[in-house]
């Protein structure tokens, strides 16, 4: 594996990361290195600890041991919203949207917060051109223009999924964590979603947590396989695909499923 180790400084790195829930080790000695601008996928069978790792990276959970570094800076003890400000944003496997707001308002909210006007209480929403310009850009990028005036609750699921990513993207993250972005999206709406993910700008590093192997192999340049809370295999897609241990894990799962 040493020949595939990254040569540049990783933008996001975990060192000996461990999370214990009572007697269960949900993550053990995870050494994950994500290179700047990477399209990196984290895969693994159900219950492998993928969501635990995401929660550790975003600060929802505190690790039992180990460190997390963003561009060499230790962020292990920072709170979730502080990590967002430093440039880690995530999407959720199950939509976490503002159902009573429109996509325009939701995105406007994120942009206002990031540009430091989230606490303005006397200026009306939509009066700052820096904010509106950026809203337009994001609405276009995520193909939400035709539904931007609708209440989020009544949007088609595929659009909601796009909004889910748009909200994280509007934080202008250095590292974007996508937690099963295509989960549950019907076939007809899938293409639009995948195209949007493909078109994410190259300066945003993407860590994709995914179950869907087609998406992983078409998108990722590097794949890490998590099994029982530990990193199992780490390498380029063709290496991972050839790896007999990975085949065994997935084949085993398919048989037992």
């Amino acid at each position: 594996m040493s020949e595939t180790m990254p040569k540049t400084t990783p933008i996001l790195q975990t060192i000996g990361l461990e999370k214990r829930f009572g007697g269960i080790l949900a993550a053990q000695n995870v050494n994950l290195a994500v290179e700047p601008g990477a399209r990196h996928a984290l895969i693994g069978p159900n219950g492998a600890g993928k969501t635990t790792v995401i929660n550790l990276l975003t600060g929802v959970l505190r690790p039992t041991a180990g460190r997390i570094e963003l561009e060499g800076r230790d962020i292990t003890s920072l709170l979730p919203h502080q990590r967002v400000r430093l440039g880690i944003a995530r999407t959720f496997q199950i939509n976490q949207l503002f159902l009573d707001l429109t996509p325009l308002e939701s995105i406007g909210l994120v942009v206002s917060e990031r540009l430091g006007s989230g606490a303005d209480w006397w200026r009306l929403v939509g009066t700052k051109s820096a904010v509106t310009d950026e809203i337009v850009e994001i609405v276009e990028r995520f193909r939400l223009a035709d539904v931007m005036h609708e209440r989020t609750a009544i949007l088609p699921y595929g659009k909601q999924r796009l909004l889910e990513i748009a909200l994280a993207f509007a934080c202008r993250p250095r590292v974007l964590l996508l937690d099963e972005p295509a989960a549950g999206v019907p076939e007809a709406e899938r293409h639009e979603l995948l195209a949007t993910i493909e078109a994410l700008p190259k300066d945003v590093t993407v860590l994709l947590i995914e179950h869907d192997m087609d998406l992983v192999f078409s998108f990722a340049e590097r794949i890490s396989v998590l099994v029982n809370g530990a990193l199992f295999v780490d390498g380029a897609p063709d290496e991972v695909a050839r790896d007999p241990r990975v085949k065994a894990v997935y084949l085993g799962e398919e048989l037992s499923a």
Partner: protein, 347 residues
């Protein structure tokens, strides 16, 4: 369909524009000064209740904080306004009113840290507890507050040195109405600001609000403080216009009535507290004339019916009636000249 910045800005600002309904509402509110000259006392009480309910709507309807203790701020500022007038510390009512609001806001800020931890039930209990404690403190230190007899000997100077609170309550009502309007405009402005949007996001999905970088706790502290300030202004208005303050300003009933007002009027659109206060006061007045002893039975019945039917459904009925009226209007309009026999094209 593509978006452009002007359109986005216009759309985002559109919500904040004053609708014809709102303009009509306020024209009517100010018209009541001339329309119902014999009713100033109940109108004044309604305006104070409306402001008080508005303060609760800000935290309940926009930030999802449920409270049974708004009376704490109402009463605290009520006594403050009474004491500063009684001892001649601040004589001009408007300045005293602003100071009362500020001191209630300060109390709100301090207690917000107790309230904002925990679930809805905890919040109900903590807010209730705070107002009970303040009520008992006012009772215990009766040398300052007058205890069960109430605060006697309060004399209120004329507003701005010119308008004395008269016996008929005319100036008192106008004063309360203007204060209500100003506070409403401030609340409205807050709601349509980026800050207000972040509150709605917290109420909608706290987990996601934190995940996009909203400092949830500080936003809630801020709105709780503002809400306490408005509740305080309502309390100070009551003291100033009655030149009296008694222990019942802290009562649980006052906080509970407030929830009732918001249940009647609805939350989260700012007019709920105002409309609810009008309906509540009207019902109270009407029913207590019909059955002086048992009027609360009917209030209780109204409450049960509203909750059982559900506001969504009632709003739906209103929409249906409105669309029927519109359809009737469009059906009638072309026929009207014909009915009058004045159709230019004749028959």
């Amino acid at each position: 369909m593509t978006a452009n910045a002007d359109e986005v800005a216009r759309y985002l600002k559109r919500r904040a524009r004053w609708s014809p309904f709102e303009i009509a509402f306020w024209i009517f509110a100010f018209a009541t000064i001339w329309l119902f000259p014999g009713k100033y006392l109940i109108l004044k009480d309604t305006a104070i209740l409306a402001l008080f309910a508005l303060s609760l709507d800000l935290i309940l309807g926009y930030a999802g904080i449920i409270s049974l203790g708004q009376a704490a701020f109402f009463g605290f500022a009520g006594y403050f306004a009474g004491l500063v007038a009684k001892y001649g510390i601040i004589n001009e009512p408007v300045i005293a009113l602003v100071c009362s609001g500020l001191i209630a806001a300060a109390l709100g800020f301090v207690t917000s840290f107790l309230v904002l931890r925990g679930s809805d039930l905890t919040r109900l209990m903590v807010t209730l507890g705070v107002s009970l404690m303040l009520g008992e403190l006012a009772n215990r230190y009766s040398n300052i507050t007058g205890g069960a007899d109430g605060l006697q000997g309060v004399e209120i100077e004329p507003v701005l040195g010119r308008f004395r609170f008269d016996l008929f309550g005319h100036n008192g009502y106008v004063y309360c109405l203007i204060v209500l309007f100003i506070c409403f405009v401030i609340a409205r402005r807050i709601i349509y600001s980026p800050f207000g949007l972040s509150l709605r996001s917290i109420k909608g999905n706290t987990l996601r609000a934190a995940a996009i970088g909203v400092p949830v706790k500080w936003r809630l502290v801020a709105i709780y403080t503002v809400s306490a300030g408005l509740a305080g202004i309502a309390g100070a208005l009551l003291t100033q216009t009655t030149a009296f303050c008694s222990l019942d300003v802290f009562s649980l009933e006052r906080s509970a009535d407030l929830l009732l007002v918001l249940i009647i009027g609805g939350t989260g659109y700012l007019y709920g507290g105002l409309i609810g206060a009008v309906i509540y006061k009207f019902l109270q007045d009407w029913l207590s004339n019909l059955t002086p002893q048992y009027w609360q039975f009917w209030i209780g019945l109204v409450l049960v019916v509203i909750v059982l039917i559900g506001r969504e459904r009632m709003a739906g009925w209103v929409r249906i009636v409105r669309s029927l009226l519109v359809r009737l209007g469009t059906w009638l309009m072309p026929r009207l000249p014909a009915l009058g026999g004045a159709a230019p094209d004749g028959r």
